[in-house]
Structure formats: structure tokens, C-alpha cells
């Protein structure tokens, strides 16, 4: 993939916003890939965890926002647990989700969830799911 990088993008306020919400410094990551290797759902992500951080390092927020990665992350913290630099990609992905949800945009519509699931699922799945997917 060919892309044009600019200093403006790299130091953009959008990346700083993700850093502020997540409490993480994207520049701490040195791209070892442990997070993508340990992530149980990276096979489902359009951009795996280590590459999400790389895109953010390069200021390419649009690519990351357009990918499904943030909605697929289960927050199991395997990435953080195995990161030699103590970076939490899970926190960055949550920050990305939060930038959407805090605008009042829902990823899931509660009314569209199937009734049998609502009836049988453990409460913790519902509460957790609503907090991850609904504003």
C-alpha cells in the first residue's frame, strides 16, 4: 500500500486526542508485534493491533477509524499483558470507540438484538456489550 505521510498528520490533534482519552503514548510502541500475535481476535480484525498503533504513529487516523478492529476487540488485555513496553492497544481501541460513542452514535441498536439472546444471555454480556457498543 502506498501512502503519503506528512508531518501535519503525524502531529495531528486527532492522534493527541486518542492519546489523551486512552492515556497511552503511541510512540512508545516499537512494533515487535507481540500484541497481534497474542490477540485472540486479530484474525477477525481488518487492521491487527500492532498495525493500529503503527497507523496512529503515522497520523493515519482515518484508516483506523474505518476498520472494524475497535469493534472486534474484546478487551481481554492479552496485548497489554504481553507488551514489552507496557502499551495497552486495548485502551487505544477503547479510545477509538469512545470517540464514536461520545458523539451519540451507536454501533449496535438495542432494539435490533434478537429476543432469545436478550432472554438467555448472562446479564454481564448485555451490560458489557451495551457499554462497548452503545452510546
Amino acid at each position: 500500500m502506498k501512502m503519503k505521510l506528512s508531518n501535519e498528520d503525524i502531529s495531528s490533534v486527532r492522534v493527541r486526542q486518542i492519546e489523551r482519552i486512552s492515556g497511552e503514548d503511541v510512540r512508545k510502541c516499537y512494533q515487535c508485534g507481540n500484541c497481534s500475535g497474542g490477540c485472540p481476535v486479530s484474525f477477525e480484525m481488518e487492521i491487527p493491533p500492532s498495525q493500529v498503533v503503527r497507523f496512529l504513529q503515522l497520523g493515519r487516523v482515518d484508516e483506523v477509524m474505518a476498520a472494524n478492529s475497535m469493534w472486534v476487540c474484546v478487551g481481554c488485555l492479552q496485548c497489554y499483558s504481553r507488551c514489552p513496553k507496557g502499551v495497552s492497544v486495548a485502551a487505544m481501541l477503547e479510545a477509538l470507540r469512545q470517540t464514536v460513542l461520545r458523539k451519540g452514535e451507536d454501533f449496535e441498536k438495542i432494539k435490533d438484538l434478537p429476543y432469545p439472546f436478550l432472554k438467555k444471555a448472562p446479564q454481564q454480556a448485555l451490560v458489557c456489550g451495551f457499554r462497548k457498543f452503545v452510546s
Binding site: 481476535v41 474484546v74 499483558s81 449496535e108 438484538l113 446479564q123 454481564q124 454480556a125 458489557c128 462497548k132
Partner: protein, 289 residues
Amino acid sequence: MKIPYYPGCTLNTVAKHFDASARDAAVSMGFEMEELAQWNCCGATFPLTPDNLIGLTAPAKVLSNARKAGDTLTTLCSVCYNVLKRTNKVMKDSKEKRAVVNGFIEEEYDGSLNIIHYLEVLRDRVGFVKVKEAVKRPLKGVKAGCYYGCMLLRPFEDIGIDNAERPTVFEDLLRALGAEVVDFPNKIECCGAHLAMNNEDVVVRLSGNVMTSAVGMGAELIVTSCPLCQYNLEKSQPKVSERTAGYAGVPIAYFTQILGLALGQPVEGLGFEKNATDIMPLLQKKGIV
């Protein structure tokens, strides 16, 4: 010995057998799980973004109420344990966040509770040696795979119940109960968690990896400590059996049910009929019931 106990939403509804079997086993072991007089949902997920203080108010309220009942709080559900323990740490370590959260919930909670999991009560307060002595129905010959999942272990510096990569607390308990423990590679991997809401394929794949890796290492039973793990494994079982050649399913039960069984409690009171998988053929085959 009475220990203040927070059941959480799921143990009060769809996982009542997890709650009941734990309370009964506690009585057999000489302590009592005393449910908090007042409690609310913990929020079911610890906010991963540190600026999200509103997510800390529900668990902080639980902690504040619990502190009025004593200096210790025990839980069973891995997620409640994770959320309460991490929130407690924030309330203890951060003066600024403590002030904001306390102001919001109108309490003066200082993070001085000791949050312990039921497994820690058995390991550190009762002791597995005593658990072993109390066993009346040893699980001889049962090959059990202990499934930890995520929330019981991670992040290590906040939770610290055991080594985050190679935990043994679960296995030590099962060994004390007389079972033969099977180690398997996916025991600390995710079951798919809340993706049960909108991505069944991923849940089936992740839960399937857990079950097939355990069975592949010889497990005849999978033991869990989290109602969402239990649900995801149980729900995925038919599809995993369909998709995996040579895999015929495996019984899945809460560790407290297995504990109660080993402690000699009546089998009909352990709630095995509420599990989606049938453990009875295995127990009959091993001559346990």
C-alpha cells in the same frame, strides 16, 4: 468465619446454581458467604480509558457499601472480581479520581477494602490442605481442564491472583479435590466475551479453540469461574461439534459445583441440570455417583 459477599447480577439470575453451590460449599468448609445488604451492578466492564470516571461510579458504590459491612469483600464472577478490584485500586491510589467519584456517589470511600476471589478464600484463608481433608467424594480418575479466561488474571499488576501466563490456583484446587488436572494451551485465552451480542462466528471459534484444545490434551471436563465463559462455551458446543471432526463435546461446569460434588453434597442440589452439558454420564462412568 463470615465473609461479606457480592454476588453480582448474573449470579442472581441465570447463574443461580453458581451462587448456590458456592454458598453450600462454603458452609461445608466452615465459613459463610454473607451477601451484602445492599448492592448494585458493578458495570460489567472496567473502563479501559482512564478519563472515563463515570464507569467507576457503579463499582465504587458497591465498594463503599461493602466497606460498611467489613474490611473484606469476596466475589465469584471473574468479571465482578476484575471490575471491583481494579476500581478499588483507583480509589486507593488516585486522590483526584477518588474525590471526583466520591463526590458523584456521595460517599467517602478510600479504597481500603481487600477484594478477594472465592478461590483466594479457599487457597489463602482455608488452605487447600484443609479442602483436601474435607473431600468426601474424591474425583478420582476425572481428567479436568481448568479454564481461567481473561478477567480472573489480567492485568497482573492490578489483579495478581496468580501468574498471568502460567496460573496454577485452579489446578491446585482441582488436585486437592482428587481430580487429575490437564494442562492445555488455551486455558488463559478469551472465550469471545461480549461478542456473544453481535459476532457469533468469533465466539464459536474462540470458545471452540478452548474446548478442542482441552479435549485434545485429554480433558473429560472443563471447569470455569465466569458465567460468560460458561455461557459462551455451552452455547458454542453444538456448532463446534458440528465443525470439528472427532470432537464429540465435553461437559462444562462451574468450579463451585465440582467443589460441592467433591465435598459430598447431594448431587441433585448442585444444579448440574441447569448446565447445558450433561456431566452425569462422566460421573457415572468414573463411579463417583
